[in-house]
């Protein structure tokens, strides 16, 4: 099992997606099926954008082997008051700055759920949020 860590800066939209991009490069190198890569990185990217959009700071922790990848995002931020409500399509607390970047329409969490094999979200309001995305990979190469 390989481990990687990437810092995510809250509010830094120029770098949002860097961590997910690194994950995509790893999966490509391992020869993972393109449809699985797309589902994985779309879920990871939505989660990464959420950290940039809502939190002060955070990180992405990636544990990967040929069979599976676990992508965990932990942030220090306002957290989510009501996760069930946040999962509803169209519900959003995003700022106008976030909307100007092409996000904040309340589709992120539901899109993550549609793409991830497993999605786990826990949050402590006023402290932060932890998101875990798990994907089966069945890679052809790598370890």
């Amino acid at each position: 099992m390989e481990h990687h860590e990437f810092n995510i800066e809250g509010g830094d939209f120029t770098r949002a997606g860097y961590a997910s991009s690194q994950v995509k490069k790893m999966l490509k190198q391992m020869g993972v099926d393109v449809a699985i890569i797309k589902r994985t990185v779309v879920a990871a990217y939505e989660a990464e954008v959420n950290v940039v959009a809502h939190a002060y700071s955070g990180a992405m922790y990636v544990d990967i082997n040929r069979e599976e990848v676990k992508i965990e995002l932990r942030d220090q931020g306002p957290g989510i008051e009501d996760i069930e409500q946040a999962m509803q399509e169209g519900y959003s607390t995003a700022s106008s700055a976030v909307r100007e970047m092409g996000f904040g329409a309340g589709m992120g969490l539901s899109n993550m759920k549609k793409n991830a094999d497993e999605l786990h979200i826990e949050s402590e309001p006023g402290k932060g949020t932890r998101v875990v995305i798990r994907m089966q990979l069945n890679a052809t190469t790598g370890d």
């Binding site: 997606g17 991009s21 797309k38 996000f103």
Partner: protein
């Protein structure tokens, strides 16, 4: 439809991927909402957008979209072009509005996704 034909129909300028004008797109999708783009499952998608920032390119990267048309004179920054180059994404700048861009391509036979 080939990129070379898109350039001709839109009287547009290619600013990244100049050597790949034979790349072919199957369908097109127009949106400024990147979350919407991230729900697409098709391959060989042309993205038509008025949103010109780093997240437009990142979204294309994650969605395996290899060709973007920026409508209404929206300009790609140097950072955007560098990221597009790294990911083999073709960038096209067009002076027409989103509506006209879509209309001309639709008329020329480009299929929508939905």
């Amino acid at each position: 439809m080939r990129v070379s034909e898109i350039l001709q129909i839109l009287d547009a300028r290619i600013i990244c991927g100049e050597h790949r004008t034979d790349y072919t797109i199957d369908v097109a999708f127009a949106s400024d909402l990147m979350s919407d783009v991230l729900t697409l499952k098709n391959d060989h998608v042309l993205l038509i957008t008025g949103l010109a920032n780093m997240q437009t390119i990142r979204t294309a990267e994650m969605s395996d979209i290899n060709c973007i048309v920026f409508a209404r004179n929206k300009k790609a920054s140097r950072e955007m072009i560098a990221l597009a180059e790294e990911n083999d994404i073709i960038l096209i700048e067009c002076r027409y509005s989103m509506f006209k861009t879509c209309g001309l391509l639709y008329e020329a036979g480009v299929k929508p996704i939905f």
